[in-house]
């Protein structure tokens, strides 16, 4: 598949508007206004394309846009771009924003028009200093050329777009956590209902879309929903997709392919990550960021990397962040590291997550350092099972339980080894006995 989203990455000055225009940039904006598309027609095209959210949930974008009430009772509609990319293993939005910012701006103009939005914000994580500067400049250029501001291209449609920087909180990637943060508060997710499309930022109808999702929209408008829908494994998993691969592979990076690329191809393909460093064997793969269930080496067989394909394997595509762990990786250590992440990032509002995430970390830490007991393995499972599925306000807890629960389920013997022998089964610390104060 010819690159679509990353076609301009690698070009010199890819972030500047002149080069972007030369490459056909903003054509879709000129198209919808010169052909007098209604907002509904834009939304319809996106719906027909089968575009699903690329932030993690995979919710059909056109359907989400349709949740905005017909009568907004005088309230403005807001479009928020979720550029808070913080899921461990994910770095595709960073690439898109730093290398081709105008693609995102163009996507936002179309999407904002489709939902009749007048003011849009890009909520970008605080750590992306470069990304924010580059986007600020791109937005300035877009205003200067009349693609943003009052009466865009004489269409009568006006849009203001601003960059809003976060300040270090993974939970602000949750759409209502993002909204709370944008409103100038702690990023604590909200109770749903009401859903953002009905009452979001400033109590107004709000749509939150991921960077990559919005970047797809200009291509859908330019080349048509049919073209987009034909790309991908089936009509439920369409379009080009960016895959992030990291870990013990030869060539970690962002790779674009049609939705449904085989996991094995991504890991071993010549055009992709080119196999395992040092020829080591795969031990486990996390297919969709820290929040996704681990897959064993056997489970990566016939695993199309799309929403339904990974779900059929008992995990999720999520943010398409593939983390590959080789045979020397202590799974308990990996689970411990992931649980530390979740205990740091829990917002602390609700009881099961606030108390459960540190508990998981403490137990995993104890097991990893050689002070675990056999009961701790069942304890981990029990803690996980009583944290999720409605126990909490948001699904952070459901994400937090994925590493411990899936690793205990699939690598139970490794846990047992850690308890019995007080050291790793494999890896650099497998040989030495873990230090203990007293047995």
């Amino acid at each position: 598949m010819e690159p679509v989203l990353t076609r301009r990455v690698g070009k010199p000055n890819s972030h500047a508007i002149d080069g972007y225009l030369e490459d056909g940039g903003y054509a879709s904006v000129k198209k919808i206004f010169s052909e007098s598309w209604t907002p509904e027609r834009v939304a319809d095209e996106v719906k027909k394309a089968g575009l699903r959210g690329r932030g993690g949930a995979g919710f059909p974008t056109g359907v989400k846009w349709g949740f905005i009430p017909k009568d907004t009772k005088g309230k403005p509609v807001y479009l928020l771009c979720n550029a808070d990319e913080s899921e461990p293993g994910t770095f595709k939005d960073r690439l898109l924003m730093e290398r081709d910012p105008h693609q995102l701006v163009e996507g936002m103009i179309l999407s904002a028009y489709a939902i009749k939005c007048r003011t849009a914000y890009i909520y970008i994580r605080g750590e992306f200093y470069d990304g924010a500067r580059i986007l600020d400049r791109a937005i300035e250029e877009a205003y200067a050329k009349g693609f943003l501001g009052e009466n865009i291209l004489g269409s009568g449609y006006s849009l203001d777009l601003y960059v809003h920087r976060g300040a270090g909180a993974y939970i602000c990637g949750e759409e209502t956590g993002l909204i709370e943060s944008l409103e100038g508060k702690r990023g604590q997710p909200r109770i749903k209902p009401p859903f953002p499309a009905v009452s979001g930022v400033f109590a107004a109808p709000t749509i939150v879309n991921n960077v990559e999702t919005l970047c797809c929209v200009p291509h859908i408008i330019n080349r048509g929903a049919e073209w987009f829908a034909k790309i991908g494994r089936n009509e439920k998993n369409t379009g080009p997709k960016l895959y992030c691969i990291s870990g013990h592979v030869n060539r970690p990076g962002v790779y674009e392919a049609a939705m449904g690329l085989q996991l094995k191809d991504l890991i071993f393909g010549e055009a992709y990550a080119r196999g395992m460093r040092g020829g080591k064997a795969v031990k486990a793969v996390i297919p969709g960021g820290a929040s996704a269930n681990m897959l064993t080496a056997a489970e990566i067989e016939d695993c199309p990397l799309d929403f339904d394909g990974v779900a059929a394997k008992g995990s999720m595509l999520g943010s398409a962040a593939i983390i590959v762990m080789n045979e020397d990786t202590c799974i308990v250590d990996a689970a411990r590291n992931l649980s530390k992440f979740f205990s740091h990032e829990s917002c602390g509002q609700c009881t099961p997550c606030r108390e459960g995430t540190p508990w998981l970390y403490k137990v995993l830490d104890r097991i990893e350092s050689g002070e675990g007991r056999m009961e701790d393995i069942a304890l981990l499972e029990r803690i996980c099972n009583q944290m999720a599925n409605g126990m909490t306000i948001c699904v952070f807890a459901d994400a937090a339980i994925a590493p411990p629960l899936s690793s205990v389920l699939k690598f139970r013997d490794e846990y047992r080894h850690h308890v019995e022998h007080r050291r790793c089964l494999v890896g650099p610390r497998a040989g030495a006995r873990a230090e203990l104060a007293a047995v």
């Binding site: 909180a169 702690r186 109770i191 209902p193 205990s343 740091h344 990032e345 829990s346 917002c347 602390g348 509002q349 609700c350 009881t351 099961p352 606030r354 108390e355 459960g356 995430t357 540190p358 508990w359 403490k362 137990v363 104890r366 304890l379 009583q386 944290m387 599925n389 409605g390 126990m391 909490t392 306000i393």
Partner: protein, 565 residues
């Protein structure tokens, strides 16, 4: 001839039926039992209508709903995942299940999460006995702990004053945010906030700021655990030994409903009583901490002064002495020589009976005065729908005036006595603490000009030291009666414990005096006098029971409770 109205000529259709009346309730099923629930009620409150307790911590009907504690999880028919009851919108036909295995498991799980980092402080924690965490743990949790890690602590935020009246022991905190929401949404002062996040989340103030607003102790009230407790009550008593008596605030004319919490004839604290139209769930610090003052007493028996010596007397004989002096003056000078001073601290019944005695003597000279709230103090509180504003430092000035404690035609009042325009020979002061004036030398000197000065009181002051007869009066905790607040609401306060003889309520002393002067038989009781008031004073002719007894007893931290501890 038909008397039925016939349809107009030419019409063939019957008139349209009126639309069915829109009901303002939803039918909600709780474990199969249907209940009619007002549309704007929260599901947790609604469950109580069905007699079902949905455990909770963070919910409070006057604070925003946050759904954070996750204790109120229930099953809703038609929704596969467990739902928080407090955030579930009501609708007609909603079916709630609270007794399924899933609900029980979720409650136990949530209790486990709450207890893993909670210190086992019960033996040293004031909240024991009125602690929602204890109750929910006992009701819904597991008995044994499976937690073997280090507990999260906040060592520098324990046993520390967070405000002038509130001690913080933050290690006990369960992060329910009731206190934070109270300071922002009710007090409007916003001192409290969460700091940090995740398992490290801490409730505290902005550095250098104290939890210091006129209702600060209410933050300790709403705290469901012992993280915020009242300093004045620290370690003083276990709460299950305290008796709760419905009463009213003695410090202002808002008439906040409270309960006297007492043991062995000592008042330990006040807690608010719920009255949505007066003080709702709240009490101001000033009124709340007047609880201690109910234990103050210097005057334990009657005394009579002869010349320079003061000797103890038996109450009836002391009262007889007062009656004699009054009779003597009436016979020689007439009723103009007698002056009766009532009080804004005395009940309607007491002021009324005093005025009846004055009328019986045809004495038009009577009065009651009150101190205004001063020094920038806020005497106001947030009722359910609006703020109630008070301006007087005593609870019943309006009642005293309604009962007629003002000069009648041709009579004189206190200002005339103090200015010297009037010179009564006998002055009866029914409450020696009637105002700050009782300690004012000029006032006392003016009153002392009378030949005979009789007072009833509790605390010694310049007035009692100057008086000829001092009678021991019961405190508010030792008697019952009614006060009329700034809204004109007549509210009853009840007796927490009997006064120690020979101390008596002023009502009894006045009744005794009246009997000796030929009015009544001395056996008047507060309910009897109230009935008399109802027949004689038009504004008091129809006091509804829900006005008189509008407040409901609360258990600290709980939002509604009507039982006996």
């Amino acid at each position: 001839m038909s008397t039925n109205p016939s349809p107009p000529a030419g019409s063939s259709a019957a008139p349209a039926p009126p639309p069915p009346p829109q009901k303002d309730t939803f039918t909600v099923l709780f474990d199969g039992k249907p209940v009619e629930v007002p549309k704007n009620m929260n599901l947790i409150e609604a469950a109580r209508l069905a007699g079902i307790e949905i455990p909770h911590f963070c919910f409070h009907p006057r604070l925003s709903v946050v759904g954070q504690c996750r204790m109120c999880l229930v099953e809703i028919e038609g929704i596969p995942k467990i739902q928080a009851a407090c955030t579930t919108p009501l609708k007609d036909g909603l079916s709630v299940k609270t007794t399924t295995d899933k609900v029980k498991a979720c409650r136990a799980a949530n209790m486990e999460f709450l207890l893993i980092n909670h210190p086992l402080d019960c033996p040293i924690c004031d909240q024991a006995g009125e602690c929602t965490l204890q109750d929910n743990s006992f009701g819904y949790g597991d008995q044994l702990s499976n937690y073997d890690e280090a507990k999260r602590q906040y060592p520098t935020f324990d046993r520390t004053m967070i405000g002038p009246h509130v001690i913080a022991d933050m290690t006990r905190c369960i992060q329910c945010t009731r206190c934070i929401r109270f300071t922002h949404e009710i007090a409007g002062t916003g001192e409290l906030t969460f700091l940090d996040r995740g398992g490290r989340t801490l409730v505290w103030t902005h550095a250098g700021q104290a939890l210091d607003n006129p209702w600060s102790a209410c933050a300790a009230d709403v705290c469901p655990v012992g993280a915020l407790t009242v300093r004045e009550f620290r370690f003083r008593s276990r709460v299950w030994y305290l008796e709760k008596t419905p009463s009213l605030c003695p410090g202002g004319n808002v008439g906040c409903n409270l309960s006297i919490e007492s043991k062995d004839s000592v008042v330990y604290r006040f807690l608010p009583r719920l009255n949505p139209e007066v003080n709702d769930y709240w009490l101001c610090d000033y009124g709340r901490f007047m609880s201690e003052s109910l234990n103050d007493r210097d005057i334990h028996k009657a005394t009579v002064r002869e010349g320079t010596s003061v000797s103890d007397a038996i109450v009836p004989l002391a009262v007889e002495r007062v009656a004699r002096e009054i009779r003597a003056t009436i016979e020689t000078t007439g009723p103009s020589g007698v002056f009766f001073l009532g009080s804004a601290h005395l009940s309607n019944e007491e002021n009324f009976l005093l005025r009846q005695v004055a009328d019986h003597l045809a004495c038009a000279n009577r009065d009651a005065v009150v101190d205004k709230v001063e020094g920038g103090r806020q005497c106001r509180i947030k009722a359910q729908k609006e703020w109630v504003e008070g301006d007087e430092e005593a609870p019943n000035h309006r009642g005293a005036k309604d009962m007629g404690m003002s000069p009648a035609a041709g009579g004189y009042g206190l200002d005339a006595v103090l200015s010297g325009k009037a010179a009564p020979e006998v002055i009866v002061v029914a409450d020696a603490d009637f105002s700050r004036l009782a300690n004012d030398p000029q006032t006392v000197a003016a009153l002392r000009k009378a030949r005979f000065l009789a007072v009833a009181g509790r605390n010694a002051n310049a007035l009692t030291r100057a008086a000829d007869v001092v009678l021991p009066a019961a405190s508010m905790a030792e008697r019952e009666g009614t006060f009329t607040n700034v809204q004109g609401r007549v509210q009853r306060f009840q007796r927490a414990f009997l006064p120690k003889p020979p101390i008596r309520p002023v009502l009894e002393l006045v009744a005794m005096l009246g009997r000796m002067l030929g009015y009544g038989d001395g056996s008047q009781t507060p309910p009897g006098v109230l009935e008399q008031i109802a027949t004689e004073i038009p504004a008091y002719s129809n006091i509804r029971p829900d006005e008189l007894e509008g407040g409901r007893l609360l258990r600290k931290g709980d939002f509604i409770w009507g039982g006996v501890l």
